[in-house]
Structures are given as structure tokens and as C-alpha cells.
């Protein structure tokens, strides 16, 4: 397997959680399976996400002040 680009990891791992959820739940091909998430379900996610942010935002601030590449 060829290595193409270095993948950003540890610190960004946390920070990009919101980015990740934004992609995984709000983008991508929408195919109506037997079970498909409704928009209302996705809205629920954002309520839950605020809980996560308590920890993520701390790291985010650290990264913002650091020398981010």
C-alpha cells in the first residue's frame, strides 16, 4: 500500500469531531434504505454534540494558539 499524504492525527483527531459528524451525517450520498435517518434525527445530533464540545473546545483553543500547520 502506498503512502500518499500524511494524515493529521492525535490533537486534530479531537478537534475534527464536529467536522467529521458534519460530513458523516450531513453529506454523502443519500439513499433511501429500509432505515434512513430523517432530518429531525440529525437535528437531535446537534443537541448531543454540545455535550461533547465541552472537552473538544478546550483542545480547539489550544490548537488555535499553537503553530498549526
Amino acid at each position: 500500500m502506498s503512502v500518499i499524504e500524511p494524515r493529521p492525527r492525535p490533537l486534530e483527531e479531537q478537534i475534527t469531531l464536529i467536522e467529521l459528524v458534519d460530513r458523516v451525517l450531513n453529506a454523502g450520498v443519500v439513499v433511501h434504505g429500509d432505515i434512513t435517518l430523517a432530518v429531525a434525527d440529525v437535528d437531535l445530533v446537534y443537541v448531543g454534540l454540545r455535550v461533547l464540545l465541552a472537552s473538544a473546545s478546550t483542545l480547539d483553543r489550544l490548537a488555535a494558539t499553537g503553530d498549526s500547520k
Binding site: 493529521p8 469531531l17 467536522e19 454523502g28 450520498v29 429500509d34 432505515i35 434512513t36 435517518l37
Partner: protein
């Protein structure tokens, strides 16, 4: 307790083309997906879906909304969804499906591939050899205003006149500064997006996340995704250049990825 056999469904992560199906299979077999379930490759003609057999006790439509509201569950499984797609990303193009697409029977996954073949092939063609990079720009309002003050040499000096007049003049100056800061930030970000778009194959601008979601006090002004050739470093270099250029203006840029092309496979045409 008497238990009936657990009902299961097939959770679909995304779709790869025929040429990538074999390597995807090798990659998929070595890792687990949502709910730590194994990943399988389901083929139909020249397309192959990456899927996991999942218990409906966890992924049924009666419980899924509730599960989504559990941050730990969400984080674990959103990451698992992305990890499965990223595992094949180095070797192949993959069309990501939205989280939570589930079929009750394995054969229905094949039927879906047949039914959506044209659309999926077009999406694969569009993203062939490409990855998505995310770029966000944030404005630190007070630093933007400070940069304007420095630029105009506008010191908050004594204006003369009575205390009331001085107050009014100060308020006026503050409001003008706020408006100028807003205009400057907007202009910088618009120009940045144009510069980034010029080194990308496609671009998509999403709504900026509100502060309670972005988790930071700086206001998000740009939340965009760019489609670039795998291994092409121009966009990252451009973001670094923009970050250097605008650091003193109070505008910061962040780049994430490479991601599977989540924002470039939808039905609606990207910008």
C-alpha cells in the same frame, strides 16, 4: 430468558468501483466498522458496497434516533463509518453514503447498486483519484478591529468638547470600526475562497457552524470543502500562505483532511 434470533440489517458505508473492490475487500476484512462489526464487500456488476451486518437492536429505526443523541455512541460510530471509508481511500475512490443507511436484507444492497448504477458511476468518475479537504476561517473580532486601528492610526484621542459630545463621538467611531471590521473580514474570506477554488477541482461552501457547535468564540466565516487530486499539496500550501498573510488581521485558517469526498457525491451539483 427465551430469545428469538437477533434481527439484523445491512449498514452501508459507501461504494467503490470494480477495480478497487479487491483491495477494498483486503482492507475491509482487517478492520471493524460500526458497533465493531466486521466489514464485508457486496458486489453487483462493476460496483461494490462496503457494508456490515448489524443488529437492529442497535440500528433499527425505533432506536437509532435515541442512539444518535448519545454523544459517546455517536462519536464511536461516526468515526467507525469514516474509518471504513478512509481505509480504502489511499488505494481507491469511494463514494461515501450518509450515516445510517440500512437494508434489512443483504440482497437489497445489490439491488440498490443495480438501481443507482448510473448515479454511482457518475459520482465515482467525478471523484476518481481525488480527496476532499476542509477549510474553515475564523475572525477574532477584536483583533480585526485592532488591525484597522493600526492601519488608520486611529487613536482614541481627546476629541474636545464636553463629556457628552466625547461619548457620542466615541460611540460613532466604535460603530464605524465594527462595520469596517465586518467588511474587511468578509472581503478577506471571499478572496481566500476564490484563491482556494482556483487550485481545486471543485468547491462547496457550507453554512458556517454557530459558535455553540464550533466550540470557540471566534466567529466562523468560512466552512468550505475542496476537491483536490490525491497528493496535490497546492491547496494546503495556499491555506498556509493565507494564514500567514492574514494572521495580523485576526483571521485564522484551518485545514482538515484528506477526507473521503463526502461533499462531492450528493445529488445537487457542488458550487
Amino acid at each position: 430468558m427465551i430469545s428469538a434470533p437477533a434481527r439484523t440489517g445491512w449498514y452501508v458505508y459507501g461504494v467503490v468501483g470494480e477495480s478497487a473492490a479487491a483491495s477494498a475487500e483486503t482492507q475491509a476484512m482487517t478492520r471493524s466498522g460500526v458497533g465493531s462489526h466486521g466489514v464485508r464487500v457486496i458486489r453487483a456488476g462493476n460496483l461494490a458496497a462496503l457494508a456490515s451486518e448489524v443488529p437492529l437492536d442497535d440500528f433499527g429505526d425505533d432506536v437509532l434516533p435515541e442512539r444518535l443523541n448519545d454523544p459517546d455512541w455517536l462519536e464511536r460510530n461516526a468515526r467507525a463509518h469514516d474509518d471504513v471509508l478512509e481505509a480504502v481511500l489511499d488505494d481507491a475512490s469511494v463514494v461515501p453514503f450518509r450515516f445510517g443507511t440500512i437494508y434489512l436484507d443483504r440482497s437489497e444492497v445489490g439491488t440498490m447498486l443495480d438501481d443507482r448504477r448510473d448515479e454511482l458511476e457518475r459520482a465515482l468518475e467525478r471523484i476518481e483519484g481525488r480527496v476532499e479537504l476542509g477549510v474553515k476561517a475564523f475572525a477574532d473580532r477584536s483583533r480585526v478591529e485592532e488591525s484597522l486601528r493600526n492601519r488608520s492610526g486611529d487613536d482614541a484621542g481627546d476629541e474636545g468638547g464636553g463629556a457628552g459630545t466625547a461619548y457620542l463621538l466615541r460611540r460613532q467611531r466604535e460603530r464605524r470600526l465594527e462595520a469596517e471590521a465586518e467588511a474587511l473580514s468578509t472581503e478577506i474570506v471571499a478572496r481566500a475562497h476564490e484563491a482556494l477554488r482556483s487550485v481545486a477541482d471543485a468547491a462547496r461552501v457550507n453554512r458556517p457552524q454557530p459558535p455553540e457547535l464550533s466550540g470557540r468564540s471566534d466567529r466562523m466565516l468560512l466552512n468550505a470543502s475542496y476537491l483536490v487530486a490525491r497528493g496535490d499539496g497546492r491547496l494546503s500550501a495556499e491555506v498556509r500562505r493565507l494564514a500567514d498573510e492574514h494572521r495580523d488581521h485576526g483571521i485564522t485558517f484551518e485545514v482538515t483532511g484528506p477526507w473521503p469526498a463526502y461533499n462531492f457525491v450528493g445529488a445537487e451539483e457542488p458550487e
